[in-house]
Amino acid sequence: MPSDGEVPTPRRAAGRVVPVYAVTGGRTRSAGKELPVEALITVTHSGRHAADLQLEYRTILGLAAAPVSLVEVGAHLQVPVGVARVLVGDLADAGYVAVHLPQVGGDGTPGPEILERLLEGLRARSG
């Protein structure tokens, strides 16, 4: 729990009644591949119709109506990225969210095609 002296205090997550480590069952890692902080998630058809989920999971599915990254999920839930990674991993395992990973080449960096598209997009914005 945060200490009293911690400032600035982020707004409280609405309605959390149990500590996050209880939600994750004390896990700090998901079983699957470690997701990068920028990995995007989107809710799937079955995720839209999922019932009886804990608040944190429902919140994530709501956020993922539009593409949202792991780091944004963490910020919205006000939990560390590691915790968000576990929760998102659970939803992905259940088929409730699709995970969109960065496209990188053999050297682990974005390839020229994607950089070209990024450049084009940024130039269009700079007018």
């Binding site: 982020p10 700090t28 990068p36 902080v37 920028e38 990995a39 995007l40 989107t42 809710v43 799937t44 058809h45 593409p67 990254s69 780091v71 944004e72 963490g74 910020a75 919205h76 006000q78 939990v79 560390p80 990225v81 590691g82 088929g95 699709a98 969109h100 990973l101 960065p102 496209q103 990188v104 050297d107 682990g108 960096t109 974005p110 390839g111 020229p112 994607i114 950089l115 070209e116 598209r117 990024l118 450049l119 997009g121 940024l122 130039r123 914005r125 700079s126 007018g127």
Partner: protein
């Protein structure tokens, strides 16, 4: 399982010394309100001085600044302001992995504060550009002065910018992506 077409995240790091304008830069471009996220930091990552008074396995958190730019229908770019102090380098490794590259912001009155960031990206061959953030007196220096002071190689772009202005920050991102592309062309 996919409900939609291709969708790719990208990320760029914004580095530099304390108070050089990293947060301002990220916020000038981000389409989402400022959000802080926390990254767990175990005692192993903290310097010896800080851990001497606390028991093992203590976990603290460090705030991470980030922003988002929806580039087009399928590309979303994230900007991460990286904590300046070297004890946070374990975080840089995770952030730098798979990144397009970095903008290293420099305040010419305190150039030495950007050296750890420059060394970090040089050592890992991660593309970066130098963004000379406008502070009083920064116009008085020529590009040659800056290159000499920073001892960077001739290919590394240097741009004069103002982190408070979105257009200016955007131009430094464009310079970075151009630089990253030119390097893939050479490598390929």
């Amino acid at each position: 399982m996919r409900d939609r077409g291709e969708l790719y995240p990208l990320k760029i790091l914004v580095a530099g010394g304390f108070g050089v304008g990293k947060t301002t830069f990220v916020r000038s471009l981000s389409e989402i309100p400022p959000l802080l996220t926390e990254q767990a930091m175990t005692s192993a990552s903290i310097g010896v001085d800080e851990t001497s008074a606390v028991p093992d396995k203590v976990t603290t958190t460090v705030a991470m600044d980030f922003g988002r730019i929806t580039v087009d229908d399928s590309l979303i770019l994230y900007l991460f302001g990286t904590p300046g102090q070297s004890r946070f380098w374990f975080m840089w490794d995770e952030l730098a992995r798979g990144s397009v590259g970095a903008v290293v912001l420099v305040d010419l009155r305190r150039v030495d504060e950007c050296f750890p960031a420059i060394d970090y990206f040089e050592d890992r061959r991660i593309p970066y550009v130098i963004g000379v953030n406008r502070f009083p007196g920064s116009e008085a220096h020529s590009e040659d002065d800056v290159r000499d002071a920073l001892a960077i190689n001739p290919e590394t772009p240097v741009v004069w910018m103002d982190a408070r202005e979105a257009g200016s920050s955007l131009r430094s991102l464009v310079a970075l992506v151009e630089h990253a592309l030119s390097r893939t062309a050479v490598a390929g």
